[in-house]
């Protein structure tokens, strides 16, 4: 009877003739989701690029962005990828530092979102809104969707942290679960590398 359960259940030893992909199904699913999301962001970026030089307003408006301030907040986001990596490593070693690095990661991500909020407030005060012109439309849609993804990532990280904190041991969340959350977070980070380069650094190319 032990044979009746389906052969690919993860708890069962692999059949010698098993030819399936040797990757956890959750990780594969997350990788495909990230691939799908990449197409979504690619089109938002293409829309921004397409309208950048429309009537010159896009290129001109981009000069008004505060590269230094946003650059500093971006460093917070980039650093959060590193701290999450440290959290994962600590978690694999069953070290209590995992907890600490998770909190640092969430803190850095929140800092980035706060920075984006301040930037939006400043732009809107200067009457640069989503409905003003092509720059407003593409800039707020692109960075807004990125910000939304950061917030989703923060929620995922918080859930992971909560699962860690809730258990008697700190290691209740599985390695796979944490890997999936971290894949998503690194992806959001990489998208920002592309967005920051296109929106903020393009003007320095002569």
């Amino acid at each position: 009877m032990h044979n009746t359960a389906h052969a690919s259940a993860p708890s069962q030893p692999k059949h010698p003739l098993d030819t399936n992909l040797k990757v956890d199904r959750n990780i594969l699913g997350m990788a495909l989701f990230i691939g799908s999301e990449s197409v979504f962001f690619l089109l938002l970026i293409l829309a921004y690029v397409n309208f950048h030089n429309q009537y010159g307003t896009g290129a001109m408006a981009a000069w008004h962005l505060d590269v230094v301030k946003t650059g500093i907040f971006s460093i917070a986001l980039f650093a959060s990828s590193g701290t999450l990596w440290l959290a994962e490593r600590a978690h694999a070693k069953q070290s209590g530092m995992a907890f600490f690095w998770m909190i640092v990661t969430i803190g850095l991500g929140t800092t980035f979102i706060a920075g984006q909020g301040m930037e939006y407030a400043e732009l809107i005060r200067e009457n640069l809104t989503i409905s003003r012109d092509m720059f407003g439309s593409t800039f707020f849609t692109l960075t807004g969707f990125h910000g939304f993804h950061v917030i989703v990532g923060l929620i995922l990280l918080s859930i992971a942290l909560w699962i860690m904190a809730r258990g008697k041991k700190q290691h209740e969340i599985t390695e796979v679960g944490l890997t999936c959350v971290s894949m998503y977070w690194h992806f959001v980070d990489v998208v920002w590398v592309a967005v920051f380069s296109v929106v903020y650094l393009w003007r320095f190319i002569k």
Partner: protein
């Protein structure tokens, strides 16, 4: 085996209505079982098929006579928009997902999908999206800009009722569910195959679904990005597609068709998969060139991302893009032609059994070839310039989507209905339905080729008296459309009648070879008591006659 059978306490069930796990409406609403969700998808799709067909019938009634006034202009715009949107997103997509999630785990010897809850999410999000779209009629009028919603017509300045907002929101949430199901299918096929079931041994249907799921996962986000932009244009006053402030209506066309052309293959691939199972079984032969069949599917998957501009040949993009996309569009006909060739070669010299399922598959072959040939014609730029936006286009895509997709999937319904319900479908009703379907379909749409060549533009509300041939051909088409809708109603009647009165099927009524026919009809909740080790493309043949039933050499030594 016998010991295992004894330990299973419940008595064998040969009708899906008697499966203990499926009793009660709550078991369906809360289900995460791939078989129940597959059936829900398919039943919902046929429900919307009737709605969409009645919308189409209304179009035909309006066009039956010149200067007729069955519905007014505004209503007519809503009706053809809802006809197209319903048929593509609420009939085509759920029908293919229904087949995919029902059959894929059974065919690869798995117990369920990789993510059963995500599977359920995909279905309910689809239903939610469909309700949201139809709710627009109660909220001040449906969408009116056609199924591809070109700006500026779809912009707020031109359509200020909320129908277009509902359209965009509805397709957006449905798109999220489609991506979820696409990912689910890929992961299922790549990580949950039974021992010995290499990718070379999975049924062709599974290959088609694998490629289909890749298309869904990577093209639907393009639609979602475009939908977000049109929605923001309408409710947040952005200007993505608003030319008066520097936006670009052309950008919508690029984004939409970057999704829209792969979508055509998303819709047709599962039908090809169904036919690739039906034709070998009813010809009593192995599929001719199964390897090249899988390879050509992969080729189509890649090429389909590089042909979208052939929908935009008249937008003035300049010579170079036109030539490039004309070439890729001609190129994609090659792997498609290989498939038709393979199906024909499978039938050649076979011992044909003309079941209703096989008849639909054969009608598919002929009609799909007609649709394919008129499609290749559009890759030739001057032909496209002459015929674009005419009824020739309407004829072309109905030959592909009705003559191709719907015929092949109805062939699949006749083939797999015994597996899903435990009952055979009535062949007598089926024969009537088949011939009415063939007559109604070809009668309705073949004459549209001629109407298009005679210059009738698509999407016109009516046409003047005295246009040469228009009145006669439109009248003929409208009469046949009544037969077409009648045949679809007869099909639904057959589904219901056979459910109560059909003969008991048994596990393998067609003497087929693939793994789903090893399961009971209907399959038990766990699908299989025991999954055998797969040693060839025909595991059931191996069980009956020993290994070596086909040319899969490596399997014989395993």
């Amino acid at each position: 085996m016998t010991q295992g059978a004894l330990e299973h306490s419940h008595k064998p069930v040969n009708w899906v209505a008697e499966v203990p796990e499926y009793k009660g409406i709550l078991s369906w609403i809360t289900s995460i079982d791939h078989k129940q969700l597959g059936l829900l998808y398919i039943m919902s799709a046929f429900g919307f098929l009737i709605v969409g067909a009645l919308l189409g019938l209304t179009i035909r009634m309006q066009l039956m006579f010149p200067m007729a006034h069955v519905v007014n202009q505004g209503q007519y715009n809503q009706i053809f928009t809802m006809h197209g949107t319903t048929m593509v997103f609420f009939v085509g997509m759920p029908l293919l997902f229904g087949f995919a999630v029902y059959l894929t785990p059974l065919m690869i010897g798995a117990r369920d999908m990789a993510f059963p809850r995500l599977n359920s999410f995909g279905y309910w999000v689809y239903i939610f999206g469909a309700i949201m779209l139809f709710f627009s009629f109660l909220a001040g009028g449906g969408p009116e800009a056609g199924w591809f919603a070109y700006p500026p017509l779809s912009e707020k300045g031109y359509l200020f009722n909320s129908g277009q907002n509902y359209w965009a929101l509805s397709l957006f949430v449905t798109g999220l569910g489609s991506v979820a199901t696409g990912i689910n299918l890929i992961v299922t096929i790549l990580t949950m195959r039974a021992p010995g079931m290499t990718l070379k041994r999975v049924p062709l249907f599974v290959w088609m679904i694998l490629m289909d799921a890749f298309l869904v996962t990577f093209s639907l986000p393009a639609l979602n990005a475009a939908l977000v932009m049109i929605l923001f244009d309408r409710i947040l006053n952005t200007h993505f597609f608003d030319a008066t402030v520097g936006g670009s209506p052309l950008l919508w066309q690029h984004f939409f068709w970057f999704f829209g052309h792969p979508e055509v293959y998303i819709l047709i691939l599962p039908g090809w998969g169904a036919v690739s199972e039906v034709i070998p079984v009813f010809s009593r032969k192995l599929l001719f060139g199964a390897g090249i069949m899988a390879a050509s599917t992969v080729a189509i998957t890649f090429l389909s991302f590089g042909v979208w501009v052939h929908h935009m040949f008249t937008t003035g993009l300049g010579t170079a893009p036109l030539y490039i996309f004309a070439v890729t569009s001609l190129l994609i006909a090659v792997p498609t032609g290989i498939k038709v060739w393979s199906w024909l070669a499978t039938m050649w010299g076979g011992k044909l059994r003309f079941s209703v399922s096989m008849l639909h598959a054969m009608a598919f072959l002929i009609q799909f070839t007609i649709g394919g040939l008129s499609g290749v014609g559009f890759a030739v730029i001057p032909i496209d310039w002459q015929l674009t936006d005419s009824y020739f286009v309407v004829a072309h895509f109905h030959y592909v989507l009705v003559g191709g997709m719907l015929f092949s999937l109805i062939s699949g319904v006749y083939y797999w209905y015994p597996k899903a319900t435990g009952r055979m479908m009535s062949e007598t009703l089926g024969l009537w339905q088949f011939w009415l379907f063939v007559i109604g379909f070809n009668g309705t749409f073949f004459v549209m080729h001629i109407l298009g060549i005679l210059g009738m533009p698509r999407r016109v509300w009516t046409y003047p008296v005295g246009m040469p041939g228009w009145a006669e051909l439109n009248f003929f088409s409208s009469c046949c459309s009544i037969i077409l809708v009648g045949s679809l109603l007869l099909f639904v009647y057959n589904l219901i009648w056979s459910f109560y009165h059909g003969k008991t099927a048994g596990p393998n009524p067609w003497n087929a070879w693939t793994l789903e026919w090893l399961a009971d009809s209907p399959p038990i909740a766990e699908n299989f008591e025991r999954v055998p080790v797969v040693r060839s493309r025909r595991p059931l043949w191996d069980l009956e006659f020993g290994s070596g039933g086909d040319g899969d050499g490596e399997g014989q030594h395993a």
